[in-house]
Each structure stands twice: as structure tokens, then as C-alpha cells.
């Protein structure tokens, strides 16, 4: 027996058999209806017997039996079609003809006809039911129904009120919740102008351009362009992003809407979305009324992202200055490095933790569709809006007007651009992204001048210039703070005018924190002074791309002493020699301690070694400044391993292909030897600088140079250090301190003092 699949309906010769239920369901229905009517008769007449009710039912409800008869005929027809193939065939052909006739109408027409038929059927049924209720003719009953509806209106009203009563509570609640967090400022509400933003001219110029287009959009629109709609200002904290936005508000002739960073964090689902919608409704209204509007989202990172890990990408280089991570050691290792090197170290630390940090950010979005709503509002469908526009115009046969051009300039500011959603930053939403970095030197001078003009001071133009030079990474906020600190110092000293020394002290206080005012015991003071002097001498002799800003042995919160350098110029490329000089300065402490203390060295060099190793690693693995060429970053990505190994081959190539860490160690060893050489050659200078540090505790860059060159500095007269007798005294003092160090006893030689006038 061959198995065959169930035949198609079109292949059957006879009709498919109906199930018993399908055969009887209408009969059953009519029977049930009949008995319901009989039951109604019985209920109507208390003396009627059940038999009489049924019997009279057969007479009065003849239409049921008419329908029943029709059903019987239908079932007979089905039965015949199930048994007799020719009979079924005739009907199939008949239905095919009817079908083809019906399908001459389009689907839409058939749908409409069926809709009309259904409506008529409904009306007929309704009138029959109503006629039964009103005991009237169906047509008359149909006209009586509206009256009943009218009398039922109060009840309907009550029900509607009930529904409304429940709904209104939610409406009111959400309405109240969706308020707030959005402030609108009109022109002249804000007095800040572009001229109040100093040192960010390049960004300001671009913003000015945007505002210009907002003020007169025809300039670009008549040529087929469009007004850029979004600006992102990103950069380190305190660089003036918010101030810039404030100045935009003051400068523009358009309303300025300020969105609170917390505005979209809400208790309930959907409130954020409502807020975004109401915000943009407001923006559109303002844009129409005033021809344009500026909306500013401060701390835009609070908008969050949709959980996509944004590690890497456009903003992978974090510009945060987390120097504390570097300075957890006794000697503030990071301080000896140039700022880019510090940034590098910071970045290195951060990327190690970036995975954790980013995954945490993914969860921290304001969520619940708020961001999506914002994305849609920024660049969504341009649909006709308004009841009149969409409904009334269309009813009158007019086409709805397209929405007008809403000129909305969106400005966002953040110092965590990597936390923003990628979709938010695409052109069309945020067209322009500007990094608001540290101000240029000219900007810093302008900023200093600006803030100094608000206080009384005795600083000359040259001094202000110098101040700007020695504070390369100052922002508007830090400059303002430093000047205020200087003013506090002046006032505490009974003056009302800021002097140069106030500024320097304030700068040191701000950069280093307050000195802890602890007195070292003599031999330790000497050790710290020698340590810092080694850094200082090395920085003076080997590092030409930075100048020494400060040298101190006053203990701070997280360091014993330090030598701080600053770049004299704004420089954007870094060279191998510069990095080597950085390493030399770092390693000078280890080399010097070993040299001056007979091979002994303190734990204070740990920070120096960490920074030296990091830079050496990058030189070897990333920057092509070592023996090999391949990039460690790529090697790690492709998992090919670093060049190294070469087991068993005793040739030069093996030497070159040793493990990365070996090569780094080699490089560091070489540089340590070099540092030692330099220090041996300049032993006198180190001791002289150490002496100056022990004497004065804190030296400025000029003082260090004075000691090195035997000239007169602002604080220190360096000329005594050219005198061989004085040098001998210093050597004696050092030897005594060395002995005291070895025996852990008090030194018997006191620090020699030289009169500054001494020849």
C-alpha cells in the first residue's frame, strides 16, 4: 500500500465529510431558540401547560421551522455532495462561476459591499430586537431607540465621569511629573557675552558661526544647505563649556532653553518620554515665534546610552587628569614627568579599568525610552502637526501643510563624551563636535588679565605672561581659583593688593596642597634633599623641552618633596630624546641615592620607577623608539605575541628578539647608567642644590637655575656655590649625614650657612 498525502480540496471528487457537530449545529441552535421562546411563553402565562406551550409554539413560531427546513435542505445538499461526485461537480462549477463573477469587483469594493451588508444586517437585527422589546413594528421601534438612548444619557454620563475620574488622576500625576527641569531664558536675561569667555577663541569662533546661521538661516538655506542643528562641547572639566553656553544665551537674540542634567531621571516609565516631548513642543513653539531657539543640555552624559559598550571609539583617550593614581608613592613620581607623559600614564591606568567603567555606564542611562524619544525628536519624521492642520484641512479637501523649518540649535556639554550614545552623535543630530581643551597661552594670559582686572594687584604684564607660562594646564576655573587664593593670602597678610609672591604661593598651594609643616630629622631631610636635587640637576642638564617650575622638600599630603617642570611652549609632538630625558629625570633619584648613600636607596623611588617603566614600555612597544618595530598594541590585538623567544639560536637576531620586558629592562638599565654618569660628573651641583633646598625648603625654577649657574635668583643667591671652600663644607656636611644615616644617629655637623653677599 502506497502512502499518499491527504488530497487537496480541489482534487476531491466529492465534498469533504462534515463532522457531526457541523451537521447539527444550526439545528441545535434553532431548537435551543425554540425552547427559549417556549420558556418565555410559559413565563408569560402562568396557567399555560408545558405541552400547550410547545404545541402553540409550533404554530406561532413557524419561522423557526422554516429555517430548520432550510437547514435540513442544506444538509441534504451536503449529504448528496458527499456521496455523489457528479452532483458535487455541478456545484463546484457553479461556485467557480459565481466566484469569478464576484472577483470582478476589486477587493476594496467587495470589502465595502460586505461592510454595507453587515451594517444593514445589524440594523435589521437591532430593529427586530427593539420591536420585540417595544412591542411595536420593527421600523417604528428603530425610531423609538434614540429616545431611549437620550433617556439613558445621564447614566452614560455617570459612567463616563467614573472613567474620567480614574483617568484624570493619572493625567494630573503625569502632568505634574513632566514639569520642571527646563528653564527658558529670553534675550537680555543673561549678561554673559562671548567677550567673557577667554582662551577658547577657536571654539568660540565656530559657535559664533552657528549662531550666525541661526540668526540668518537664509544665508545657507538659499544655497540648498541647512543650518547645523547640533553642537557637542566636550573636554576636561573647568574649561568653560557651561560658560560658553551661558555666553551663547547672552549673545544670541533667540530664546535659550537650559535643560537640567537631572531632568530626565524619573520615577515612572514614560515620564521621561513625556518630558522630552513637551520640551520639544515648547522648543518648536519658541522656534516659530522667535525664528529660532537654542537648547542646552548640560552634562549630557546623564542622558546615558542604550547599553552599548562604548569602549574605544572616538573618545577612547580619556582626558581626565587622574594624577592621584600616580602619586600614591612617597616621592611624587608623576611630578617629574612632562604633562603628556602624565596623561599617558593616566590613560594607561584608565584603560585597564575602562571595561569595568564602561559596563557601569551602560546601566546608568536615564532609560525607559527617554533617549530614544530624544533621538527621534532630534531627527525623526517630519510630519504635519496640529489638529487643524491634520484634520480640518483634510476634511475640507486641502492637503496638510508640511511642518515649517524649526530652527532649533541643540548644544550639549559633557566631560564624558564616551558615555554618550553613538546615535546621538551622528551628523543630523549633533553635526559639530568641538573639544574644549585647555586654553592656549594667549588664552591663559587673557584669562589671568580678566580675573586680575577684578581685583587689586601689582603684577606687571611680563609677570602675567610668566604666570601663564608656568601654568600650562590652567583652566578658567583654576585661574579664577588661584587668583582668589592669592587674594586671600594677601588679605591675611594685611594687604589688599595681590603681589607676585602671593600668586606663586597660591599656585603652589593649589597644585601641591598645603605643606604639612613637619620637620624632618636632619639626616632624613638631607636624604630627601639629595633625592630631589638629583631630579632637579638631571632635569636642568638633560631635559630641554621642559623648564623647572618648582623644587621643594616640604612634605605634602602625598609626597616628601618634588621637582615640578612645565613646558615653556605649547607642543604637540613628542620625540624619543624627550622621552629618554623624562626617564633620565625619573631614574636620577635611584642613581643619585645609590651614589650618595653608598649603594643604599630608599623606597621613595617606587613612583619614579613606575613612571620610567611605563614610558619605556610605550617606547619599546608602541612608538617605535626601541629595538623592534612592531607595535605591541597590534600584537596584542592579533594575539601573535610580542617579538621574543627565538630559543636556541645564538645569534644577533636572537638578541633583538628577546621578550619585550627584557628589552624594556635593558633600556632602563642603560639609561640608569647614563643617569649615574651625569650625576657623577655633576656631584657638586647636586650637593649644592640639596644644600639650597635644605636651606630654603622650596625653590622656584629661577632659584634652581641660579644655584646651577652660580647667579642670583629671586630667593637664592647662587654665587656662594662657586666657592670651593663652601663646596668642601657641603661635602663635609654630606659625609656626616651619610655616617649618621648608616649608624641611625644624630649628625654632628650642622648645615653650613652662606651669607648671600659672600663673594
Amino acid at each position: 500500500m502506497t502512502e499518499s498525502s491527504r488530497p487537496r480540496d480541489t482534487d476531491r471528487k466529492t465534498r469533504i465529510h462534515l463532522s457531526v457537530y457541523d451537521r447539527l449545529k444550526f439545528t441545535l441552535l434553532f431548537t435551543i431558540v425554540f425552547f427559549i421562546l417556549v420558556w418565555a411563553d410559559l413565563a408569560d402565562n402562568p396557567i399555560l401547560s408545558a405541552k400547550d406551550a410547545i404545541v402553540s409554539g409550533f404554530r406561532t413560531r413557524w419561522w423557526i421551522f422554516f429555517l430548520l427546513g432550510a437547514e435540513v435542505i442544506r444538509q441534504a445538499h451536503f449529504g448528496l455532495a458527499e456521496m455523489l461526485a457528479p452532483y458535487h461537480g455541478i456545484w463546484q462549477r457553479y461556485f467557480a462561476a459565481v466566484d469569478s463573477l464576484i472577483h470582478k469587483f476589486s477587493d476594496w469594493t467587495r470589502y465595502r459591499i460586505s461592510r454595507v451588508v453587515k451594517a444593514l444586517l445589524f440594523i435589521v437585527m437591532l430593529s427586530v430586537v427593539l420591536s420585540a422589546i417595544y412591542k411595536e413594528t420593527p421600523v417604528k421601534a428603530l425610531f423609538m431607540a434614540p429616545k431611549a438612548l437620550w433617556s439613558a444619557l445621564p447614566l452614560l454620563g455617570q459612567l463616563l465621569f467614573g472613567v474620567f475620574f480614574v483617568v484624570i488622576q493619572f493625567v494630573a500625576m503625569f502632568w505634574f511629573l513632566s514639569r520642571g527641569g527646563i528653564d527658558t531664558y529670553f534675550p537680555d536675561d543673561i549678561r554673559t557675552r562671548f567677550s567673557d569667555v577667554w582662551g577658547q577663541d577657536h571654539v568660540l569662533n565656530r559657535i559664533r558661526e552657528n549662531l550666525l546661521f541661526l540668526e540668518s538661516p537664509e544665508e545657507i538655506e538659499k544655497h540648498g544647505g541647512y543650518v547645523p542643528g547640533g553642537i557637542l562641547l566636550w573636554g576636561p572639566p573647568g574649561t568653560g563649556k557651561t560658560l560658553m553656553a551661558e555666553s551663547m544665551a547672552g549673545e544670541t537674540g533667540k530664546p535659550f532653553v537650559f535643560v537640567d542634567p537631572g531632568a530626565f531621571n524619573n520615577m515612572f516609565f514614560g515620564v521621561g518620554v513625556l518630558k522630552v516631548k513637551s520640551l520639544f513642543r515648547k522648543l518648536r513653539k519658541l522656534a516659530l515665534r522667535y525664528g529660532g531657539v537654542v537648547v542646552f543640555f548640560d552634562e549630557a552624559d546623564s542622558l546615558g546610552n542604550r547599553g552599548i559598550s562604548s569602549s574605544g571609539g572616538r573618545f577612547s583617550l580619556n582626558s581626565a587628569n587622574n594624577t592621584s593614581a600616580l602619586s600614591g608613592t612617597q616621592c611624587r613620581g608623576g611630578t617629574y614627568l612632562s604633562e603628556p607623559s602624565v596623561n599617558l600614564l593616566t590613560h594607561n591606568l584608565l584603560t585597564q579599568e575602562s571595561f569595568v567603567a564602561n559596563s557601569a555606564m551602560g546601566g546608568g542611562n536615564s532609560g525607559m525610552g527617554t533617549l530614544q524619544a530624544l533621538l527621534t525628536e532630534l531627527s525623526g519624521l517630519k510630519k504635519p502637526r496640529g489638529f487643524f492642520n491634520r484634520i480640518v484641512r483634510r476634511t475640507l479637501g486641502m492637503r496638510p501643510k508640511n511642518p515649517p523649518k524649526y530652527r532649533i540649535l541643540v548644544v550639549m556639554a559633557t566631560n564624558m563624551p564616551e558615555a554618550l550614545d553613538e546615535a546621538l552623535l551622528r551628523p543630523g543630530r549633533i553635526d559639530r563636535m568641538y573639544r574644549v581643551g585647555y586654553p592656549s597661552k594667549a588664552g591663559r594670559i587673557r584669562t589671568y588679565e580678566g580675573y586680575l582686572s577684578k581685583v587689586s594687584h601689582s603684577l606687571s604684564a611680563e609677570e602675567v605672561d610668566k604666570l601663564a607660562t608656568i601654568t600650562p594646564y590652567a583652566t578658567g576655573a583654576t585661574i579664577k581659583d588661584t587668583i582668589n587664593e592669592a587674594l586671600i593670602m594677601a588679605i591675611r597678610h594685611g594687604r589688599t593688593s595681590i603681589t607676585w609672591s602671593d600668586m606663586i604661593k597660591a599656585k603652589q598651594l593649589k597644585e601641591l596642597g598645603p605643606a604639612e609643616d613637619v620637620e624632618y630629622i636632619d639626616r632624613e631631610r638631607h636624604a630627601v634633599a639629595v633625592h630631589e636635587a638629583c631630579h632637579g640637576v638631571m632635569a636642568y642638564l638633560a631635559r630641554y623641552h621642559m623648564t623647572i617650575d618648582l623644587a621643594t622638600i616640604e612634605k605634602g599630603s602625598d609626597y616628601l618633596g618634588m621637582v615640578a617642570s612645565i613646558p615653556p611652549d605649547d607642543q604637540f609632538t613628542r620625540w624619543r630624546t624627550e622621552y629618554e630625558a623624562d626617564i633620565l629625570v625619573s631614574l636620577a633619584s635611584l642613581a643619585g641615592e645609590r651614589m650618595f648613600f653608598d649603594g643604599d636607596n630608599s623606597s621613595g623611588v617606587s613612583g619614579d620607577l613606575e613612571s620610567a617603566t611605563t614610558i619605556a614600555s610605550f617606547m619599546e612597544g608602541h612608538w617605535g623608539m626601541g629595538i623592534t618595530v612592531s607595535s605591541h598594541a597590534s600584537n596584542r590585538r592579533f594575539e601573535v605575541g610580542a617579538p621574543g623567544g627565538g630559543k636556541g639560536k645564538e645569534d644577533g637576531a636572537k638578541e633583538m628578539r628577546r621578550a619585550l620586558s627584557d628589552r624594556i629592562e635593558d633600556n632602563l638599565s642603560t639609561l640608569l647608567e647614563k643617569a649615574l654618569e651625569i650625576l657623577v660628573e655633576n656631584r657638586v651641583k647636586v650637593l649644592a642644590l640639596a644644600h639650597a633646598l635644605e636651606t630654603y625648603k622650596t625653590l622656584s625654577g629661577e632659584d634652581v637655575v641660579a644655584v646651577m649657574e652660580g647667579s642670583v635668583g629671586p630667593l637664592v643667591d647662587g654665587r656662594p656655590y662657586l666657592n670651593s671652600n663652601n663646596i668642601a663644607a657641603i661635602e663635609d656636611y654630606h659625609l656626616a649625614a651619610l655616617n649618621a644615616h648608616k649608624s641611625h644617629q644624630k649628625s654632628d655637623v650642622v648645615l653650613p650657612l652662606f651669607a648671600s653677599t659672600q663673594e
Binding site: 457531526v20 451537521r23 447539527l24 439545528t27 441545535l28 431548537t31 408569560d44 402565562n45 402562568p46 396557567i47 399555560l48 401547560s49 405541552k51 400547550d52 410547545i54 404545541v55 402553540s56 409550533f58 404554530r59 421551522f65 430548520l68
Partner: protein, 219 residues
């Protein structure tokens, strides 16, 4: 499967047998006034004397209170097994030779409302109370066969059966149920009567008619 088919077959058989029974028609003729909720039934071969015919007959020459009463009538109908019984037979006190059932539902006139009592209900057609007392010299030969209170859902009254023989006439037995609604707005009267011989002959039929009398009131 067989059980199903068997069930279906039974179903069809029941339906058709029910249909067949309808050929004989209802077992009784039901007199119904749905508006006032009054029901009784008579044997199915009885003939109806219509409300309209009775109203017309009663209206002939009626004046004053009689006319007011006619206007207050809500429903009156009569049934008898003979075609010869007409409205004039119904509305006269002459004893019919076949049983005659007559229903009358009427609103009470304002002056009647205060006067209505069980005795006034008993005296609806003939002064039963005075005849029964034996004090009335003009009274015909009279015999009270039954007198009992009748209580329905919304009405109450008396069911009285009596026999009297007028002078120069045949003896007639009347089964009279006269009820007044609890709100004393309406009276319901069912009278079944014929000659005493006829009455005793048709006692069972008459009992069935009287016991089917139901007053339910407005729905």
C-alpha cells in the same frame, strides 16, 4: 462515533415527534389579558364572545353610572361551548342551557372605592347577602352552595357558588369569583353559570375553568 450518530438520530427523532404532536393543537383555549395579568382557560372547543361585541351590547342605551362603568371596563369576554350564545345571553340573567364563562375586569369608580367590601363583591350580580339572610320577602328560592375567601397574588375576594330559582323560571347555578385588587383600584370577576341541571352535569369542566382563574396583576 456510533454514539455520536446515535445521539444525533435521537435528537432528530425528538424534534420530529414534537412537531407531530402539534397537529392536534393546544389542549385548552386560553383567555388572557396580559395588560392586567388575568388568565383562565376553557376547554379548547369552546367559542368566544368577543370583548368588542360585549362592549357594544352593554353600551346600548346605557346612561349615567352604567356608562361610566362601561368606560371603566378593561376586559370582558365570554366563552361557551355553543355557537348560539351571544352577547345578549351573556349580559342577561336568564339561565343558559350550556355553561357560560364570563370574565370582567374593570376599574373601580371613585365612589365605589370606599364602598367596596367582601359583601359588595358577593352582591356583584344578585343581592346574595340579603337573599341568603332569609329576611328578604321578595327573595326567590335561594341556596348558598359555597362561600370562601379567594386570595391571589395581588388581589383578594370571595368565591361564591349559589343556586336560585326565580319565579316562573328555571333553577340556575352561578359560580362567581369576585376579587378586588390590593390597591382597591380594580375588580376582577369570573362568572361561570348555567341551569342547575347543566351545572351539575358539567361540574368537572366548570371546576377546571374556575381553578385556572389567575390574577397576577400588571407586569
Amino acid at each position: 462515533m456510533y454514539i455520536r450518530k446515535l445521539g444525533a438520530l435521537c435528537f432528530v427523532v425528538i424534534i420530529s415527534s414534537l412537531a407531530l404532536t402539534s397537529c392536534s393543537g393546544p389542549s385548552r383555549l386560553y383567555a388572557v389579558d396580559k395588560t392586567d395579568g388575568v388568565y383562565f382557560s376553557v376547554p379548547k372547543n369552546w367559542i368566544r364572545v368577543s370583548n368588542a361585541a360585549l362592549n357594544a351590547r352593554e353600551g346600548q342605551g346605557a346612561t349615567g353610572t352604567a356608562l361610566d362603568r362601561l368606560y371603566a371596563v378593561k376586559w370582558q369576554e365570554a366563552f361557551s361551548p355553543s355557537k348560539k350564545i351571544t352577547s345578549s345571553h351573556v349580559l342577561s340573567l336568564v339561565a343558559p342551557t350550556v355553561p357560560l364563562a364570563y370574565i370582567r375586569v374593570r376599574s373601580l369608580l371613585p365612589e365605589e372605592i370606599d364602598a367596596v367590601s367582601y359583601n359588595s363583591l358577593r352582591n356583584m350580580i344578585v343581592p346574595v347577602t340579603s337573599w341568603a339572610s332569609g329576611l328578604d320577602a321578595t327573595a326567590p328560592e335561594f341556596q348558598l352552595l359555597d362561600d370562601a375567601e379567594s386570595i391571589q397574588k395581588i388581589a383578594r375576594g370571595v368565591h361564591t357558588v349559589f343556586e336560585f330559582t326565580p319565579k316562573k323560571g328555571v333553577s340556575q347555578t352561578i359560580d362567581q369569583t369576585a376579587l378586588v385588587s390590593d390597591d382597591r383600584s380594580t375588580i376582577y370577576v369570573l362568572i361561570v353559570r348555567c341551569t342547575s341541571t347543566c351545572f351539575s352535569k358539567n361540574l368537572k369542566v366548570i371546576d377546571e375553568i374556575v381553578s385556572s382563574f389567575t390574577v397576577r396583576g400588571k407586569r
